[in-house]
């Protein structure tokens, strides 16, 4: 029955087309009126995201039109499927000095629903599972079956105005508004009674606004521009709250003081995950131009300041970059690129009550200062040579050295270093033989201590399991977590090739393949390996203005080898 429904749905637009759809095409106008149907089986384990998750038919209107009256021109693109699914772009030109570009995009993004059905467990005191013990894991879904979604809206208005000044100059003023509205799933863990996860739907009402102004002038042979952007994120939804269970022993409800001395809160309704408002201002300066006949420079600098309204935390970023290109010969260009940026985020003191405060053997301080993982200085140097052997072949060779000096994130536990350095070598061949385009690229990157979790996994079985300082009762094996873990390679090799051939204006053929092999042998725990292979081919044939036949095959294989560390709890 379902297959029949799918078949009928597939046929419906074709059957209904002559009656329902009219279309009109001339050189400057295009109108398409029709229907769009879909049938999909719903699978809650995998979000269908942007495609329909139910069987239905929508109307459809596509419109492209343009006209010119004197020196006033407009062009309109519109695609309308429903009030939740539409796209529009309107460009208006006046002479060659004014352009207005308006875009609006709205679509539905379906979100998943997790029923938390895997959270149902009680500890057993024996390996056979016959004697119930204390620890429990439970869950509740307060909005079962609810479908979660958000509609995303993006509106942009940009004005470009050429100024009638002695120095050629122009200004750009822009505004962008984004909105995410809908319902999404919120979850909250409560775990110093029975381990309990609650979930319910919550309203989503997030908005972001960007305004910017850019001034550009051509001074002699240099294009100089300055741009200021102010961006604000505003969360208009009410905070979602959950009741956090009162800390107590899960099996008998006792030991209230003991459990309370191990937690920060409980027995109260508290707000949960909320993206707080933030604002960001950015200044950018850009200079580029030619020096003599053979040299070209591009330089830029920027400064940005990001603030979290709720916490007043402030993140500043400064960047600078410079590129110099030199045409050594008509067929050889060499360039050098230098870039540097630094990020500085506020530190914050986290005031936390002492561990088991007021309890026998307790009182160990837990307050700490959060030094930010953002804080870093990053610099690059890249050298590139582009050699055009003849009209059909060109080769590119490049070398890049990059240094990342983090302030606080350790990436080498042996010496406590926070630095990563890398060298990347790349060679590429591009061929252009009439209607044949082909390229082949090979690269190798050696990375000295890439990003990792230095205290990621438990790795020190030789050490005695020492109890928490000052407390002989409780052993925390997490304290022995000194094993490095990462999914980032320290050596990374890539080979990639692509070939496309255009038989005619109506037919083309494409094939590609890539191979990747990487490993990280700098961890103190294991050697991480990753392998990737992709390949594919496709053939296009344009039957007419509206019909394109495509046949293709894609293959992808990715594999990563790592260890799973299973700590044993004894606490």
């Amino acid at each position: 029955m379902k297959k029949l429904a799918i078949f009928l749905l597939a046929c419906l637009p074709l059957i209904a087309w002559p009656a329902l759809a009219g279309d009109h095409v001339d050189s400057s106008n295009y109108v398409e009126i029709g229907v769009r149907g879909s049938d999909a089986s719903k699978d809650h384990n995998q979000v269908s995201e942007y495609s329909e998750s139910s069987t239905k038919i929508n109307g459809m209107l596509k419109l492209r039109t343009m006209d010119t009256k004197g020196d006033l021109k407009y062009r309109l693109d519109l695609a309308l499927f429903s009030n939740e699914d539409l796209k529009m772009k309107l460009v208006i030109n006046k002479g060659n000095w004014f352009t207005s570009t308006t875009t609006y995009n709205k679509f539905l993004h379906k979100l998943g629903h997790d029923s938390l059905s895997n959270m149902s467990w009680r500890e057993a005191a024996d390996q056979a599972g016959t004697i119930p013990a204390h620890k429990e894991l439970t869950s509740v879904d307060y909005t079962p079956g609810e479908e979660f979604y958000k509609t995303y809206e993006d509106f942009r208005q940009v004005f470009d105005i050429k100024l009638n000044t002695s120095i050629p100059s122009d200004i750009q003023v822009g505004f962008r508004a984004q909105a995410r509205n809908g319902y999404h799933q919120m979850m909250q863990l409560s775990h110093c009674d029975t381990c309990h996860v609650q979930t319910k739907g919550a309203k989503l009402d997030e908005n972001a606004y960007d305004v910017w102004a850019k001034v550009h002038a051509k001074v002699n042979k240099f294009d100089v521009s300055y741009k200021y952007t102010y961006s604000k994120f505003n969360n208009g939804a009410d905070q979602t709250s959950f009741y956090i269970d009162r800390p107590r022993h899960p099996a008998n409800g006792g030991a209230i003081d003991e459990f309370a001395s191990r937690t920060l809160y409980g027995g109260e309704v508290l707000p949960t995950g909320f993206n707080n408002d933030n604002k960001k201002s950015t200044h950018e300066v850009h200079v580029e131009g030619t020096v003599g006949d053979k040299d070209r420079i591009v330089a830029g600098a920027s400064y940005s300041d990001l603030t979290n309204y709720f916490t007043d935390l402030d993140l500043t970023t400064s960047t600078g970059s410079f590129r110099w290109s030199h045409k050594c010969r008509t067929n050889l260009v060499m360039d050098a690129f230098l870039s540097y940026y630094t990020m500085d985020n506020d530190d914050i003191f986290i005031d936390i009550p002492a561990w088991r405060d007021g309890r026998p053997g307790g009182g160990q301080p837990l307050s700490w200062t959060r030094y930010s993982a953002y804080n870093r200085d990053v610099s690059y140097v890249k050298l590139r040579a582009i050699y055009k052997m003849d009209g059909n072949n060109r080769f590119t060779f490049s070398y890049r050295y990059k240094q990342t000096d983090r302030d606080n994130t350790v990436v080498n536990i042996e010496d406590g270093s926070t630095d990563t350095t890398s060298s990347l070598f790349k060679v590429r061949w591009d061929g252009r033989y009439g209607d044949l385009r082909t390229n082949l690229m090979a690269s190798f990157e050696s990375i000295d201590h890439p990003f990792e979790n230095a205290l990621g996994i438990n790795e020190d079985p030789a050490n005695a399991y020492v109890p928490f300082p000052g407390n002989g009762l409780i052993y925390y094996l997490q304290r022995q977590v000194i094993g490095e873990a990462s999914n980032m390679p320290s050596q990374d090799m890539n080979v990639r090739g692509n070939l496309s051939y255009r038989f005619s204006d109506k037919a083309s053929f494409n094939m590609y393949a890539s191979f990747r092999n990487g490993e990280n042998n700098e961890l103190n725990t294991y050697t991480m390996n990753l392998t990737g292979r992709t390949a594919g081919t496709s053939l296009f044939y344009v039957l007419d203005d509206k019909t394109v036949l495509t046949i293709g095959y894609d293959y992808s294989f990715n594999k990563q080898e790592a260890v799973f560390s299973v700590p044993v709890m004894d606490g």
């Binding site: 979000v47 009680r122 990563q560």
Partner: protein, 308 residues
């Protein structure tokens, strides 16, 4: 000295017509072109360039293709700038009007890959199609087939649905590729956060890879796992973290009602229930993986477990 300058100027003025003839030659006009290329001339008259800009007679075949005199006389296709012959010359003619189109001069496709104007732009098609050879969401993917294949994976940005285009992330303004070090913005993350500003923070409780690079966990072109994750949970998390310490505990076989919450049951436990519970999806409890301003519950985690 004065005589020398006068002589030089005279020579230059006399040589100008010769230079013009050598560079451009005589114009033959559209009607002559249409004698052999009727369809092409007709199609240009309906094109975006012709319709939208309406420059009149000065904006016809030879404005782009150069003088047609020699080509018409000998019928030699190599004597005119066309896509089959003298393509570079044809593309240089594009830049005579589009000198401010910076991507034609500096960006990676042109500089490094040798891609020309006509690889992406088509001038002789109907005006409503614009000047791109394909619609924006298809143009790039025609060459970048590996990326296109990823767009068909279950989780992807809505490019194939026509809700995003490649240039929303990958700049064509001369600053090369978004993921390249030649970009002027601070980092790759800045591109992601321009549409996902809710994750900008800066948060009190951080997750270090979020500060490092979004692409440690996400593949923006598409993935099998939800939310563009490079691997499904818990495997992605376990690449950097150990399993939860409750995972190894045995489970009781049978139903149970929580002692402190008789209203919440009954629940069913199995021998492997702890694995299902603690090793299915880490973000069921650690919901705030992008960072949080609120502390987690247990004091021992010092508030930084990203559960609230």
């Amino acid at each position: 000295m004065k005589e020398a300058k006068l002589f030089l100027m005279t020579v230059l003025v006399c040589a100008m017509p010769l230079a013009y003839a050598g560079a451009g030659g005589d114009l033959v006009g559209d009607e002559s072109c249409a004698g052999c290329h009727e369809e092409l001339v007709a199609s240009f008259n309906k094109s975006f360039h012709s319709t939208f800009f309406k420059k009149g007679d000065g904006f016809k075949c030879e404005a782009c293709h150069g003088s047609g005199q020699a080509h018409m006389d000998s019928e030699d296709p190599t004597l005119i700038a066309g896509p089959e012959n003298n393509m570079k010359k044809l593309e240089q003619n594009c830049l005579s009007c589009h000198s401010d189109v910076v991507h034609g001069l500096k960006e990676k496709h042109v500089m490094e890959y040798g891609i020309g104007c006509t690889d992406c732009h088509k001038v002789h098609q109907p005006a409503y199609k614009g000047s791109l050879a394909e619609y924006e969401d298809q143009l790039c993917l025609k060459c970048h087939q590996d990326v296109k294949a990823k767009m068909y994976l279950p989780s992807h940005h809505p490019v194939k649905e026509g809700r995003m285009t490649c240039v929303d992330c990958h700049k064509f303004d001369g600053s090369e590729d978004v993921a390249s070090e030649n970009t002027m913005p601070e980092r790759v993350n800045e591109t992601c956060l321009s549409c996902h500003p809710q994750y900008r923070g800066p948060f009190v409780f951080e997750h270090a890879p979020v500060a490092e690079n979004c692409m440690i966990c996400h593949d923006p072109h598409g993935s099998v796992a939800n939310n563009l994750l490079k691997a499904n949970e818990p495997f992605l998390c376990l690449q950097c973290h150990q399993m939860h310490f409750h995972t190894a505990l045995p489970g009781y076989e049978g139903d149970f009602v929580p002692h402190n919450h008789p209203d919440r049951g009954p629940f069913t436990s199995t021998l492997t229930g702890s694995k299902r519970g603690f090793l299915t999806k880490c973000t069921q409890c650690h919901t705030r993986v992008h960072g949080s301003d609120l502390p987690s519950e247990a004091r021992s985690a010092q508030g930084k477990a990203l559960t609230r």
